[in-house]
Symmetry: C2
Subunit: 239 residues, 2 copies
């Protein structure tokens, strides 16, 4: 792999789960929201269901059942149905909007910022997320993520794992696919990027769904496997 890897000029990162810990961030904000509004529910279940609604909502866009809409809009669709399901009433539109934007305020995994700082010494580091540009930009400011460039499915009119997302990202960076390495915790993302010629790095995040909720094995025949972003920098020989 050394020869192939030496061509890499940019690392593109999946974000939800790979860079940031959506689960504990949403549970923490949810519990605070519950305290403020006198809502006593299980916010771990609320967080897991919100996230579980995400793939199906995107698939409705990918299949053409829904016209294009960004993740803020899809998160809001799911939120509205969860508010029904959890019988949460009397929340103002402004508060719903604020809660929906919790996805702009997710906390990075402990290694993410320091690892990215190292990786960007040699590579372009960019998001390549289904999250929309505003979400990713606001999150980067909130979390101190030092991206060189914000790339998003929103810029392509497709959602991952559609090949257009990866192909357009490489083209926007002025690179051929084999000059880009996708870094992700989800095998489907790595598979799809590999299918269009990206190199791949798997970073398992066993706590993505909370303690004790590993969802299958995050296995994928990647060029690299690293337990966190600092280990990825080590493997790439970056001080």
């Amino acid at each position: 792999m050394q020869n192939a890897r030496s061509h890499v000029k940019a690392l593109t990162f999946d974000v939800f789960g790979t860079v940031v810990d959506w689960y504990s961030s949403i549970v923490a904000e949810g519990e605070k929201f519950g305290d403020t509004h006198g809502i006593d529910i299980d916010w771990t279940q609320f967080a897991l269901k919100w996230r579980a609604g995400y793939g199906p909502a995107m698939n409705r866009v990918r299949s053409g059942e829904l016209p294009w809409q960004n993740i803020d809009a899809l998160h809001r669709l799911i939120l509205d149905s969860l508010l029904d399901e959890f019988k949460i009433e009397g929340v103002s539109e402004a508060d719903k909007n604020h809660l929906n934007r919790v996805w702009h305020r997710l906390k990075p995994w402990p290694d993410a910022v320091s690892g990215l700082e190292r990786l960007r010494k040699r590579y372009i580091v960019a998001t390549l997320s289904n999250g929309n540009v505003a979400l990713l930009t606001n999150m980067a400011k909130f979390a101190g993520l030092p991206w060189d460039c914000i790339l998003s499915a929103e810029l392509t009119g497709h959602y991952k794992p559609d090949p257009e997302v990866y192909q357009t990202a490489a083209a926007l960076l002025g690179l051929s696919p084999n000059e880009v390495m996708m870094v992700a915790t989800h095998p489907g993302d790595l598979r799809a990027s590999q299918a269009v010629g990206f190199q791949t790095a798997l970073v398992p995040r066993p706590l993505e769904y909370g303690p004790g909720r590993v969802q299958g094995v995050n296995a994928h025949p990647s060029d690299l496997v690293a337990n966190d972003f600092n280990e990825l920098a080590d493997l790439l020989g970056i001080a």
Copy 2:
């Protein structure tokens, strides 16, 4: 203006001329290129003609005469005709490509990095340039420009001053136009952004075309006028 200005959440920046000094950067690289290749021409004229070809080339795209192509491609079109005009022969394809990418290696004005660091404490700071995403990303790494987000005409399928560029930029940031302030040295850019509802800040750059070559007065009825980015931060009350 104070009330309107208090809505601003993002500053979008013109880049060529406003943030970076294309003129002296290209003259310096050109002279080095000339020394290496034994080419004795007036690189100040070469730089000025390269830049002068840029507006007309974009207008061929804006009018539909040429299909969409990014600035790297347009710079190369102009470069090829300048190589003819200046009777420069025997340059390899790799060297032409490297020279064309001088636009990825432009030096910032002396105040640009420190001013942006101050401005980004309170605002999202983003490019909004006709330069393509790869060019702007590479330039940011080269010059140490601390953008929160790389926005480009390339993402909109239009070139400034088409209104779609500004409208799409605001939409990608999740903001309404009056929450965005365009920062530019060129009145046409400010005028076009103002026409779709942006706030505006004029930053005159009297050395843009080299010493003693001021091209008319950079006047525009902007919300703010600042001589550089640190003065802009001062005017906005940022320490």
